[in-house]
Amino acid sequence: MNAKDKKFLKGLQTDFPLISRPFAALADETGDTEDEMLAYFKKLKADGILRYIATMFDLRKLGIVSSLIALRVPKSKISKTVKIINAYPNISHNYLRADTYNVWFTVSAASERKLKSILAEIRQKSGISDMLDLRTRQVFKSQAIFELK
């Protein structure tokens, strides 16, 4: 990522223009043409710097319930368990961590009942019963935003 990328992408993490032709507006700021700006974004995407431009919702305000789940999985069962977990579209993040609880994933569902049934299924399919359901109580911050130095 070069200096221009950083300067440019910084503000756009929170405020992509909500107008008919956003790339034209951004191009006006830099003295580029709209086509040049679109080509620039496509290159950022191809280079993996930009993942996507998205509308981020407050999932709780959409009535969605979510949790962070920690599992204690024996080494020999990690690969199988991860496969079971990752198959659910409701699970967005899943990480291996160096703790007694070693597999950590985030899960969201349209209702409490659905969330519980997903967790019950995972327990049943994986045979792993040692699970911490760290239910979300309050959100102080939820944004993948970085100070780009």
Binding site: F16, Y52, L62, I85, I91, L96, V103, T136, Q138, V139
Partner: protein, 158 residues
């Protein structure tokens, strides 16, 4: 306390915007409404807090933030709100959530801390600890990323 919202519009907006001259128009056409109407709805949802933001999502690994740590803190209930706000104020903290505890699992505040390396991460975490006055915490660095996707609202809301 769910606000009233149009599920079709929410789902229509849940796909990433296309990199074209009029990205909102594509979404509006799919929904069978005008581009201007869609933009009004987006602004309305944004001011209601239903939409947190419309913006670029960066590939953090390639952006140089290779080190991601989950830090769990044990905070007295009375100090939870204050600590949550202090941690949320750190730019390197992307997520800060209060969570349920259990008798053998006392951590009630969780932060995701992003840095370029472990040293930088530990410096940030120490600064957080000092600023909030919380000394009981556990750091868990990511050993391996098994999955990282944008929440699939179509699947979740269906």
């Amino acid at each position: 306390m769910s606000l009233k919202f149009n599920k079709k519009v929410v789902l229509g907006l849940s796909d990433p915007l296309e990199l074209v001259s009029q990205p909102y128009k594509i979404v509006a056409e799919r929904l069978g409404i005008s581009e201007q109407r869609l933009l009004r709805i987006i602004r309305k949802y944004k001011s209601a807090g239903l939409i947190r933001r419309v913006g670029t999502v960066l590939g953090h690994f390639k952006a140089g933030y290779k080190c991601n740590a989950l830090v769990m803190w044990q905070v007295e209930d009375a100090g939870l709100e204050t600590a949550g706000k202090i941690f949320a104020g750190f730019p390197q903290v992307t997520h800060c959530y209060a969570r349920q505890t259990y008798p053998d699992w006392p951590y009630n505040l969780y932060t995701m801390v992003h840095a370029r390396n472990k040293n930088e991460s530990q410096t940030i975490i120490k600064a957080m600890s000092t600023k909030a006055g919380i000394t009981s915490y556990k750091i868990q660095f990511t050993v391996k990323e098994f999955k990282k996707i944008k929440s699939d609202l179509k699947e979740i809301l269906s």
